[in-house]
């Protein structure tokens, strides 16, 4: 079953690690069930410690690269437009 979305690309069935959408390395999945109907609506990766460790390490790199600077400069350009 697929969901009737205006933007079907919002239905993501991979995990987001370091800006990339990834399936589980073992390709195992967890079914997502609609509790109103009992129907399966999607399957997401069954990830574990290894993928978590990678995400944490990428998060540390992003942190060191100055995530705050990027976010704040993006904000400034927004408010500059309004002023």
């Amino acid at each position: 079953m697929t969901l009737a979305l205006k933007d079907p690309s919002l239905l993501r069935q991979q995990c987001l690690i370091n800006g990339e959408w990834r399936a589980a390395t073992a390709n195992a999945g967890i079914d997502v069930i609609n509790p109103a109907t009992g129907a399966k609506i999607a399957t997401v990766p069954n990830m574990g410690a290894e993928e978590t460790k990678q995400a944490i390490e990428f998060a540390e790199i992003a942190q060191k690269n100055g995530s705050r600077k990027l976010l704040v400069s993006a904000q400034k350009s927004c408010s500059g437009g309004i002023a």
């Binding site: 609609n34 574990g48 998060a59």
Partner: protein, 408 residues
């Protein structure tokens, strides 16, 4: 972050549809939660501009004392199935605004909303690695999150039982933690209350998300002289509810999250009945089958019943009778939890007395609509540590650094 906020609102209908499909709550509530979720992104984007430091007068003439606040470091978040979007953004919004990266594990039963919100974060230009979302084994992911020394902070919303395990697991690496844990909210109706307003507030608080929120009224305490009148009006209001698929615009209550939730609710009702409670309305699995359950009111509920001690997480309203204000406060504070409490009264002195006596982090006085991005959300006692949202929420993602400068 402002772009992320806009994209969430632009895609509100699709996100709400995904949420109702995996979580079960009615579309009106899903739309409401998407708006609530977006509000945290905007709020914290603005709060990020106000991470002020301090200059403290030094006891030495040749020294200057400066205090700055800095991002705590890599954060992780474990979010629950009952608010799949808002609990993600309440944590991620604060983390990003503070300058932290964050790795999020959404609940196994409701990962799609979080993944869709993450997709919008990517479209908004949030840099790679700053926000990651991982689905899968709670045990394997949780154990890596709690043991990895890179992680400096863990934020969790879920049960007290799991929260305690996570706190223990975080202890060896001394991580900062925020814990939004279980509740057992008292909802007290005093004899000077506006009874119609109290019924309306109780309905909203009790049956939102089919009773599956940590701030749902768990024990409805009603003063002796207004008990029967309140019970009758509550039953009449419950009779107006329509149980059905959350995608159906007529539904006012969706299904419970899974079969275990139904078994637990049935168990609480059976225990209460065996100890003298009466079913005023509902009490059974709904004719629709599956995990649908009838909205229920129990009367003559007492403190020895499990339903008064534990978090129900289902559409059951237990009405407990009390005599005096002191009794009500004692009953209300007698549990291990301290998240939300509500009371209805009009005497201004009583309002202050009761408001200050309740050992709860959030108190709704003549209202049950207490959640918003500007106010501090969090609990006392076994209901948790820290506050989320509000001007206090960003502090959990910051470290205070003091610099002493010799200028002699």
């Amino acid at each position: 972050m402002q772009r992320w906020y806009s994209l969430i609102l632009e895609n509100q209908e699709d996100l709400a549809f995904i949420m109702t499909s995996e979580q079960g709550k009615i579309m009106a509530e899903s739309r409401g939660e998407i708006g609530y979720a977006a509000s945290f992104i905007e709020w914290f984007a603005e709060e990020g501009k106000r991470i002020y430091g301090d200059i403290i007068p030094s006891p030495r003439a040749d020294a200057r004392i400066i205090v700055i606040k800095q991002a705590i470091g890599v954060c992780v978040a474990i979010t629950p199935w009952n608010f799949p979007a808002a609990m993600m953004t309440r944590k991620a919004g604060a983390a990003l605004a503070a300058g932290c990266s964050i790795v999020i594990k959404p609940a196994g039963s409701t990962p799609l909303t979080a993944l869709a919100v993450a997709e919008l974060a990517m479209r908004a230009g949030i840099p790679a690695g700053v926000l990651s979302v991982i689905t899968g084994s709670a045990k394997a992911i949780g154990s890596e999150m709690t043991s990895n020394p890179i992680v400096r902070k863990l934020s969790f919303t879920g049960s007290t039982e799991v929260g305690i395990q996570l706190l223990k697991a975080c202890a060896p690496t001394v991580k900062k933690t925020s814990m939004e844990l279980g509740g057992n909210a008292p909802f007290i109706v005093f004899d000077d209350a506006d009874i119609d307003a109290a019924v309306a507030g109780a309905m909203l608080s009790k049956f939102r998300n089919a009773g599956q929120t940590c701030i749902c009224a768990n024990r409805i305490l009603v003063q002796d002289s207004v008990y029967d009148a309140f019970a009758k009006k509550m039953v009449d209001a419950v009779a107006q509810l329509t149980v059905g698929n959350g995608l159906d615009a007529n539904s006012t209550q969706g299904p419970l999250i899974d079969g275990n939730a139904v078994v637990k609710v049935e168990f609480f009702i059976a225990d209460a009945k065996s100890k003298g409670a009466k079913v005023a309305i509902g009490g059974e699995r709904h004719a629709l089958g599956g995990t649908f359950f009838e909205p229920t009111v129990l009367t003559d509920v007492t403190g020895d019943m499990l339903i008064s001690r534990e978090e129900i997480f289902g559409p059951v309203a237990p009405l407990i009778r009390f005599k005096t204000e002191e009794d009500a406060i004692e009953i209300a504070n007698s549990v291990e939890y301290g998240l939300a409490a509500y009371f209805y009264a009009r005497d201004i002195k009583r309002v202050w007395r009761v408001g200050e006596a309740l050992e709860y982090g959030m108190i709704g006085i003549n209202t049950s609509a207490i959640s918003n991005e500007v106010a501090p959300f969090g609990g006392m006692k076994s209901s948790g540590l820290g506050r989320e949202g509000s001007k206090y929420g960003i502090d959990d993602y910051l470290e205070i650094k003091y610099m002493c400068m010799d200028i002699g």
